[in-house]
């Protein structure tokens, strides 16, 4: 673990939405850090708060509680003017390459947008930079003059990536960047993201539900359940020896060509609603090892042993056997 201060940090971050059905606690005291040049993979089932977290870190959603630190600066409640220099350094890529690009804008303009917003230079300089970016993401030079509709899903994601890296940000938050793509194309985009990181040293927060993918590309994995981080640690360790029963259940549930047919830990039921959260440990209604203490006392996110690089929110960490043991 690097001793340097994190590039991005969320401290006790909460977001509550008021809805007709009640208060939705989308994020409930999230703790997260991303260091320079690091890739953090954020996993969790739908509704666990992944997109809300991404949008809150980018300040597209106002936090209800807690703080966000970017390079040491508290940004959780900054106004839009004060945020501008931060936005330049912190960019986002969305899941849906169809919805995230304005269909009426030519690709050249889409990619130039952040350059213009941050007064990158005159027209010629911007045009040259756009051409350079399109080349870097593997698009033909004439792409600049065409509309998003003329591109496939994978190519559109390349356009979104070109836009995100235009200002050479320190960090990119990518919300399910390859989930909508077929595997053969998905691999192209994953490799592109890795090449860009190798070249520019960008830190990534990658949201994905594909655990083998996250394991393959992330330095650390953060597991979200009902708006709370339930486990966090180095990717290899989390996958090889999950400490939280939910992480173990998620790993066991992942169908892969290598692990098919093995007996598995099966989590029962559905995740509960973030409107009516269970008392005690939010996972206890589905937990295979829950006992009385779990129903009343909420476990905090803590290191399992002194000095460990991992943290887990469970009263009985590591009790569930690792589902992928024995060379999977």
């Amino acid at each position: 673990m690097t001793g340097a201060a994190p590039l991005l940090e969320a401290r006790d971050l909460s977001v509550t939405f008021a809805t007709p059905r009640g208060q939705v606690h989308a994020l409930d005291g999230v703790e997260l850090s991303v260091h320079r040049g690091e890739t953090v993979g954020l996993v969790g089932e739908s509704g666990s708060g992944k997109s809300t977290l991404a949008l809150t870190l980018l300040r597209a959603i106002e936090p209800t509680g807690g703080e966000i630190l970017f390079d040491g600066q508290a940004i959780g409640h900054l106004g839009s003017r004060a945020l501008k220099p931060v936005r330049r350094r912190l960019q986002m890529v969305f899941q849906d390459p169809y919805a995230s690009l304005d269909p009426r804008m030519k690709v050249g303009r889409i990619v130039a947008e952040p350059l213009r917003a941050h007064a990158y230079g005159d027209r010629a300089r911007i045009a040259a930079r756009v051409a350079e970016l399109l080349e870097q993401v593997g698009l033909p030079a004439d792409a600049a003059g065409r509309y998003p509709a003329q591109f496939s899903g994978g190519q559109r994601q390349r356009i979104a990536i070109a836009r995100a890296i235009a200002l050479e940000p320190d960090m990119v938050v990518a919300d399910e960047p390859v989930s909508a793509l077929d595997v053969s194309i998905q691999a192209q985009i994953v490799n592109l993201l890795q090449d860009i990181q190798d070249r520019l040293g960008i830190a990534y927060l990658v949201i994905a539900h594909d655990l083998p993918l996250v394991h393959q590309i992330a330095d650390r994995i953060v597991v979200l359940y009902l708006g709370r981080v339930v486990e966090e640690g180095p990717a290899e360790q989390v996958v090889a020896r999950p400490l939280h029963p939910y992480t173990a259940g998620l790993l066991a549930a992942t169908p892969t060509v290598d692990t098919a047919g093995r007996p598995r830990l099966m989590l029962k039921g559905d995740p509960p609603s973030p409107i009516n959260r269970p008392d005690g440990c939010p996972f206890h209604p589905r937990c295979p090892i829950a006992r009385d203490r779990c129903r009343s006392e909420r476990p905090a996110l803590v290191a399992p042993d002194a000095g460990a690089a991992r943290r887990v929110a469970c009263h009985f960490p590591g009790e569930v056997p690792p589902p992928l043991a024995a060379g999977a």
């Binding site: 053969s184 029962k268 559905d270 060379g327």
Partner: protein, 340 residues
């Protein structure tokens, strides 16, 4: 319970569902129709789950819809036979199809909301299907419906009969959809991406259920996810650009793919043991639909392409139960060396 129309021995011998030379096209005003399924042969035996695996746009759903008599207009079946228990389905009238669907053929779709009428309660949906296809009174139909919900692992089945689909979680809705597909004990169940919209832990529950229930009849399991196919399918057929490019027992195909496309997919899929390595993408993207096929559809993306590949290869047996449509099949070696 037992199907009295077919002697038991025939059930184990002949395929339950047999598709031969199926072609599905969409007419165009300015030329010959676009052929989206082009000469597909498939068969499913009693007790077997066949996986149809391929990327989006490869023709999986069209093939499934054809087997259910539901190809959306203006699309149409241009050629081929579809036989269920020896009976030809392609020539059925819509009236006759209605007797087959939900009775001999069960269907499960990706999004349970599209398959479930939202203004009918779960009990009404099941009860109506039972009474349409079986000669039973309302009480017996209700009992059969409740048993069907129990059989798909729905807790408090009796109370659930009164629920409406939108009141249920995604996982429960998909269970109801499966109950509806199974309630009349069909001979074959076709499931088109039945777990794609579900989260991993719910997907695992539904796959477990499908593995058991589909094996009781014959199952066609459509998925784009090789891991899902590996979990529950006995055999798989890999489809690319409207054609089957490889078939075989699931473990054989996944352990040693022979078609370069299958091998490419396996190399592109992230795996738990792949940490620190790079994924190996397939270059380019799949072609759009065409009306006439000349070259091998995979040629522009294929690392093994050679001059012969200018002529589309036929699907040919290379070992018992194993077929490949390729002029230069991959050597019979493991899919992915740890080198790289």
């Amino acid at each position: 319970m037992a199907d009295t129309n077919t002697p038991p021995d025939a059930r184990t011998e002949a395929p339950l569902l047999e598709i031969r030379g199926l072609r599905i096209g969409f007419p165009r005003p300015d030329g010959p129709p676009l052929v989206v399924v082009d000469g597909v042969d498939l068969s499913i035996r009693q007790g077997e789950i066949l996986g149809l695996v391929g990327e989006s746009g490869s023709g999986k759903s069209m093939l499934a819809l054809a087997a259910m008599g539901l190809v959306p207009a203006p699309g149409y079946v241009m050629a081929g036979d579809i036989r269920l228990d020896g009976r030809d389905l392609v020539t059925l009238s819509e009236r006759e199809w209605q007797k087959v669907r939900g009775r001999t053929l069960g269907m499960v779709f990706q999004d349970p909301m599209t398959g479930l009428n939202p203004v009918r309660s779960v009990g009404a949906l099941l009860g109506e299907s039972v009474r349409r296809h079986q000669k039973v009174g309302p009480e017996e139909a209700a009992a059969i419906s409740e048993a069907a919900l129990k059989a798909v692992g729905i807790p408090a089945a009796r109370e659930r009969l009164a629920a409406f689909p939108h009141q249920l979680s995604g996982g429960l809705r998909q269970r109801v959809m499966i109950a509806l597909a199974l309630v009349n004990r069909p001979r074959v169940i076709i499931a088109d991406e039945p777990t794609t919209a579900l989260d991993a832990t719910i997907q695992a529950q539904i796959l477990d259920l499908l593995r058991d229930r589909l094996h009781e009849a014959g199952g066609l399991m459509i998925t784009h996810d090789l891991g899902v196919a590996a979990e529950i399918c006995d055999r798989i057929a890999v489809i690319y650009h409207g054609r089957i490019v490889e078939t075989g027992r699931t473990r054989d195909v996944l352990a040693a793919p022979r078609h370069p496309y299958t091998a490419g997919l396996l190399a592109a899929v992230p795996r738990f043991h792949g940490r620190g390595t790079r994924l190996i993408p397939i270059r380019g993207a799949p072609p759009g639909p065409v009306s006439e096929r000349v070259e091998c559809s995979f040629r522009p993306r294929c690392a093994k392409a050679a001059p012969e590949c200018a002529a589309a290869p036929a699907l040919e047996a290379i070992a018992p139960g194993r077929s490949v449509a390729c002029h230069h099949p991959v050597a019979a070696a493991p899919a992915r060396e740890d080198a790289q």
